[in-house]
Subunit: 172 residues, 3 copies
Amino acid sequence: MEQNSENKVLSKASEERQVQHVLARYTRAADQLNGKAVADLFVPDGKVEVYYGRGGSRELLFVLSRQAEIENAMSNLMKPHPDRGWSHHTTHDHIIEVNGDHATIDAQFIRFDAVGESRPDNGWPEGTLGLMGKVTPTESGYYQPALQKISGEWKIVTLVILHDLTFAIPGK
Amino acid sequence: MEQNSENKVLSKASEERQVQHVLARYTRAADQLNGKAVADLFVPDGKVEVYYGRGGSRELLFVLSRQAEIENAMSNLMKPHPDRGWSHHTTHDHIIEVNGDHATIDAQFIRFDAVGESRPDNGWPEGTLGLMGKVTPTESGYYQPALQKISGEWKIVTLVILHDLTFAIPGK
Amino acid sequence: MEQNSENKVLSKASEERQVQHVLARYTRAADQLNGKAVADLFVPDGKVEVYYGRGGSRELLFVLSRQAEIENAMSNLMKPHPDRGWSHHTTHDHIIEVNGDHATIDAQFIRFDAVGESRPDNGWPEGTLGLMGKVTPTESGYYQPALQKISGEWKIVTLVILHDLTFAIPGK
């Protein structure tokens, strides 16, 4: 089986897992602030709809339309990681429904931000063995992507993001 | 395939994923404080057993027996979310065993509580673009449900919850 | 089906899930500080490679080679849990590739540490019903194990761990 191409290998995974992999790759690309890699997970006219709220009362914050706008927002409009900083968008408790070439995921998400301590100029003092820094949960909510299988590959058509936290717009 | 009913679609998922979906739905219902939705995931005489501790030394805190008691506890005895608040019960690293019509899950859980900042009366000040508020992990432990497949649907028979944190009962 | 042995039952799960179960068992063994249980998940000459950093700039911190060294490090070199303390190594957004008898996982990880409050000598005061203590995220990064199926069981050959936080070595 070793000579199998990656495509053949991945095609053995269940449809549900293939769909879940798309969201897993989204979290990697988002943490890398790699707009191209994020946009590639969408169909050309894909959309990101960002809302405040969880229930019937959700309030639209903004929409990103088409790959170029998604790529630009992720690469240029997100706050860069601080020195020794990184983020982890993590997703949980996926409810996945696959219906032929269409699929939906409902997932919880938590974003964490990690910032490592900087090494003191004269080295680490005695008794400080191990990991130094802080990991902080900074965002939470739900990801609800709708996907379509096109030429054998699952792509995001619309990604609904529901944020728990208040979204501030200066002067509003 | 589009004409498939939801039931047919879900039946294509592996038994392990169907079982995992039950726990995913439990987290949604718990975060909505929706006792009816929680109770519906159980068999009529289902049970929730809540313990302090992780190992051989676990100590029983309380038991909820039958759907009505589970529904009442979740709808009426849980602390309501504060203004602009929400919770996320998240589950991780599931070990799932399916044996015919019986299944067990061993999952880690972390509960997060999110509270959004309230918008100042005269609007957000300059420089405050983005998400405002706090996400805090508040509980952790293990969920260990035992499930049974009844008329094609997986239901929880007993949900063992192991809490890491100390459980306070006033006067005790 | 009840008479099936555990092995037969587990063999019904997809290869991807069997592979994921190995990582789930790793998190359990790590949280129990059970070096023997951790080492048993590896092939006899398995390795753990621990790095600082996430991208091309990763920096090797240390390597554990063979089961005995892995077991010893986990059982004897890790900080023990404090009183009423426990940890949860949790993993997220797995990208799993199975190619015959070989497999890889790329997973995000977050470590949480929970410490329960100690019961006051004269009991809990009025108004303190419920869970008492703190849950804190303390580490984050990526687990990237490579696995091999040997005699029907998936074992870790090399576990690459990428830490986000700075690793302090006194005097360095």
